[in-house]
Structure formats: structure tokens, C-alpha cells
């Protein structure tokens, strides 16, 4: 492990990591602000970031009320998707032909355009939580399934051979070797899927909901308030970033050995 790295103050290390990202985002926002002010473009066409932020603060109660259902839909849909993906991945791992039977169906499901599917699902299942859960699951399920199945496949053959030489059953080998081997793949899939999940939930709300960031955006657009649309976009971006950060933290806690491996390889 690198000593020089851990010797630097944490705040410096943190800034070295996020500094470039902050810089590029900051530059973009600044350019936008300048353009909106200098060009004299109407705020009902392109509001300046300062106006978006001011409106977001002013409307914070309404934004918050509409964010809570989006979070619930995202997390509930993602949890369902994870549970089903896990169960199916285990079945596929134990019964390989299942993979060939099911994957074409799932791949097709990934090619469906959300714009067309979302209103249909709302039509069939109403304005409640169910259609949101289904759409979030639709966009996140297959990436998670693929990640898990690939993760099991990545198991070191020597480790499997060792376990079977010790007399371990197939089930035991799965629990002792294949499941832990899949963790890096699982978390890589999780990081990507969680961003899809938020988009899926907003799409479902856009197609019809009582409350939620999606319906909030739709209403703001219909009232010619792009500043409020962008305020909701800002909230959804922050929500996605927060969920992404949460997966990174969970991964660190779940895989304490991983950073050692990375340090050894670098």
C-alpha cells in the first residue's frame, strides 16, 4: 500500500479526486450564466442557472414533496428488480440451458422504447406505485442479471477445483466461491443500474402520476416554466449522484479486500 498517499491530509486527497469534475461543471455553468445574461434571451426560453437555483430554493417544499415519491418508486422498483435478478441468476447458474431460453426475451425487453411503453404500463396499472416499480424494474433488471451471471462465471477455476477436492457440494461451491466472486461485477452493475432506475421512475411519472418529479416537470413545462423544469432536473441529478455515492460506500464496506487488490496491481 502506498504510504505517501495515506500521509497526505484526507481533504487534499478528496479534492485531487473531485477537483477536475467540479472545475468542468463550474465552467459549464458559468458559460451558461454569462450567455443568458449577455444575449438577453427570455427566461421563459432559457433561464440563467442563478434563476433556476433561486426558484429551486423558493419552491423547495413542492420539490421535496415531489421528490419523495420518486425516491420510493426508484428504491422499490430497484429492490424488486434486484430480488428477481438474483433468484434468476442463481437458477441460471445451476441450470445453464435456462440462460439460452431466457436471455433472448430479456434482450428484447431492453430494446423496447420507454416513451411507448411507459404510457401503456400506466394505462394498465393506474397512477399508483405499481407501474413505476414495473418500469424501474424493466430498465434495471437485465443489466443486474447479466452482471450476476458474468460474476459467477468469473470464479477462479482453481478455487472451484480446490473446493471440490475438499468434498464441497455444488451448492457449497456456489456460496463459498461463486457468490463472492460475483461481487465486483454486481457492484459495477449496481452503479450503472441505479442511474437508469431514477430515469425509469421519472419516465413513469411523466406518463401519469399524482405526485413525483416526472409529473412536476410535465406540469412546469405546460405552464411555460423552464426554470422549474430545470430545478426538478437539478434535484433528480443530485438524487442520482447521491444514490451512486451510496453504492460506492456500500461496495467499500462489503469488499474491504478490493482496495488492497487494486493497490497491489497498480
Amino acid at each position: 500500500m502506498s504510504q505517501s498517499f495515506s500521509a497526505a491530509p484526507r481533504i487534499v486527497v478528496l479534492f485531487a479526486k473531485v477537483g477536475p469534475a467540479l472545475l468542468s461543471v463550474g465552467t459549464l455553468v458559468l458559460a451558461w450564466e454569462l450567455y443568458a445574461r449577455i444575449s438577453g434571451i427570455s427566461p421563459t426560453t432559457l433561464p440563467a442557472p442563478s434563476r433556476v437555483l433561486a426558484q429551486a430554493i423558493q419552491q423547495r417544499q413542492a420539490l421535496f414533496d415531489n421528490t419523495v415519491p420518486t425516491i420510493s418508486a426508484t428504491l422499490a422498483g430497484f429492490a424488486c428488480s434486484l430480488a428477481v435478478a438474483f433468484i434468476l441468476s442463481v437458477l441460471i447458474d445451476f441450470f445453464k440451458p435456462l440462460r439460452r431460453a431466457l436471455f433472448p426475451v430479456f434482450i428484447t425487453s431492453q430494446t423496447l422504447p420507454l416513451v411507448a411503453i411507459a404510457p401503456l404500463v400506466v394505462l394498465w396499472f393506474g397512477f399508483g406505485l405499481t407501474p413505476k416499480i414495473m418500469l424501474v424494474a424493466l430498465v434495471t433488471f437485465f443489466p443486474m442479471l447479466v452482471a450476476l451471471v458474468q460474476g459467477y462465471e468469473s470464479t477462479d477455476r482453481d478455487i472451484s477445483a480446490l473446493l471440490s477436492s475438499m468434498g464441497a457440494s455444488r451448492m457449497r461451491i456456489f456460496v463459498l466461491a461463486r457468490l463472492p466472486s460475483s461481487l465486483p461485477y454486481f457492484f459495477a452493475g449496481l452503479r450503472i443500474s441505479i442511474t437508469y432506475a431514477v430515469v425509469g421512475a421519472i419516465f413513469a411519472e411523466y406518463a401519469g402520476a399524482a405526485k413525483g418529479l416526472g409529473i412536476y416537470m410535465l406540469n412546469a413545462k405546460n405552464n411555460f416554466r423552464p426554470d422549474l423544469v430545470l430545478a426538478a432536473v437539478l434535484v433528480s441529478a443530485l438524487l442520482t449522484l447521491a444514490l451512486f455515492a451510496a453504492t460506492v460506500l456500500i461496495q467499500r464496506a462489503a469488499m474491504p479486500w478490493e482496495r488492497l487488490d487494486a493497490a497491489r496491481k497498480s
Binding site: D158, I159, A161, L163, S164, P180, L260
Partner: protein
């Protein structure tokens, strides 16, 4: 006393590749036997047959005088790469075999813990494999192997991935350990000097399909300290000749 392990005319093809072509090999209880052969000859395949990783073969395999199929998992196997689980601490890696045998994790840890000193791993119980040096990883893998208390050890190129200096150190250490415990060992290696240094007997295999070219008994006195003694060097040179001889059929 019956032989611990005996392979009689064992042949094996994988797909349409002939890998083993009539291998006859045995080991007495407490004997250190090496199988020496070029890479890709089929050495690991022998271990896969013994540990159940491969099914089906021609010829007979007996353990303690009875067909191997009747024996209850008599081997502790150390695969070619250390096969340590990166997600388990060192102590849990070494206790793996005991856990698979049905011991609780706590009992398994209690059984391996006292051996950490002897294996040069004291203080590293709670580390992860990524934090160990190459030599320590091999010692951890070996500890995981011997602690299973099986009748015989199968070691597949245990030091193949180590640098020369570490490897020499590990060979000396293994000899000391073997002198103390007198395990029955079948060692696979492609390092002639290692085989001469450690073994009571050596089987020299041809390239694929593998046949036994020669059986060499090493009667050098133990403990062996001098790897470069004239006697050892002479045996080494002789075996190298066999391995590099383009017409092994002319030898008997």
C-alpha cells in the same frame, strides 16, 4: 505394508487429445515422490483424476491397496496457483478445508491458529491475501492443505510462480517441514533441482501424451543442505539429459 497410492497404466484423453498414455506411478507411506515433466505434459491432469476434477480413465488407481473410488477423500490438494480467496482473511483461507469438512468457523480457526508460527505467518491471521508476499501466499496455501489431516498431500508446482531466491528458501523450508511431519507427498514440478533436492523418488515424464520415461531414486542423505553437491549435480544433469533427449524411446 501396502502402497499408499498406486497408478497402473493410467491413460486419459480429453476430447480427441491423448493426454496420459499409460502412467504407472506409486508412493509408499511417508514417501516424498515427485513427478517431473515439461509444461503441458499432463501433470496437472493426473491430479485432476485423483481429486475427482476429471472423470473416467483407463487403467487402475489404488489407494492403500483398494480402488481409489472406495477411499474417502484421501488427498489434500494444493492447486497450481495458490487459489487463495481474495475475500477471505488469511486465517479463514487456511481454515477453508476444515470448514468444508463440517467444522464451525470458530473451531476451524482454533485449529489452524497454533500453526501460524511454524508456517511463518504469525501476525498475518487477519490480513487479506493481497497483503502477503509471494512466499507467504504459498505457505498459507500449504497450511490450508496440510491442516486438513488427509492421508496424502498433492502439491501442484507450489513454487512455480516465485522468484528464484524465494523459491530456494521455500524449498529448504518445505524439506524441514517434511522431515518433521513425514507426510506422504506427491509433488508436481518442472524444476529438476527442486525435485532432486526434495524427493525420495522422481518420475520423469515425457511431453504429451505423457509416459514415464524414467524412475530415479534419490539416495542423498537428509537433511540435504547443499543443492550444488557433486552427487546432486550429477543426478540433475542426468535427468536433464533424459528430459531434453529428442529420442526418449531409446532409453529404458
Amino acid at each position: 505394508m501396502s502402497r499408499r497410492l498406486e497408478l497402473r497404466q493410467v491413460s486419459k484423453s480429453i476430447g480427441d487429445v491423448d493426454v496420459l498414455a499409460g502412467i504407472t506411478v506409486h508412493a509408499e507411506p511417508g514417501e516424498f515422490v515427485s513427478i517431473l515433466g515439461p509444461s503441458g505434459a499432463g501433470k496437472s491432469t493426473i491430479f485432476r483424476l485423483l481429486t475427482g476434477g476429471l472423470e473416467g480413465h483407463d487403467g487402475g488407481i489404488d489407494f492403500d491397496g483398494r480402488p481409489l473410488a472406495d477411499a474417502r477423500r484421501p488427498f489434500a490438494f494444493m492447486p497450481q496457483h495458490d487459489a487463495l480467496m481474495p475475500w477471505r482473511t488469511v486465517i479463514d483461507n487456511t481454515a477453508l478445508g476444515l470448514e468444508v469438512q463440517g467444522m464451525s468457523r470458530k473451531a476451524a480457526r482454533d485449529k489452524v491458529a497454533p500453526l501460524f508460527g511454524e508456517f511463518g505467518l504469525a501476525g498475518f491471521e487477519q490480513k487479506y491475501p493481497a497483503q502477503l508476499s509471494g512466499g507467504m501466499r504459498q505457505r498459507a496455501a500449504l497450511l490450508r492443505t496440510v491442516v486438513q489431516d488427509r492421508a496424502m498431500l498433492l502439491l501442484d508446482e507450489p513454487f512455480g510462480a516465485l522468484d528464484a531466491l524465494t523459491r530456494t528458501g521455500m524449498q529448504r523450508w518445505l524439506q524441514t517441514m517434511w522431515d518433521r511431519h513425514r507426510w506422504t507427498v506427491l509433488l508436481i514440478t518442472h524444476d529438476v533441482r527442486e525435485a532432486v533436492f526434495l524427493s525420495d523418488r522422481i518420475y520423469v515424464l515425457s511431453g504429451r501424451p505423457a509416459r514415464v520415461l524414467r524412475e530415479v531414486a534419490i539416495s542423498l542423505p537428509r537433511p540435504r543442505k547443499d543443492l550444488a553437491s557433486p552427487e546432486a549435480s550429477a543426478i540433475e544433469a542426468d535427468i536433464l539429459d533424459t528430459l531434453l533427449d529428442p529420442q526418449p524411446a531409446q532409453r529404458t
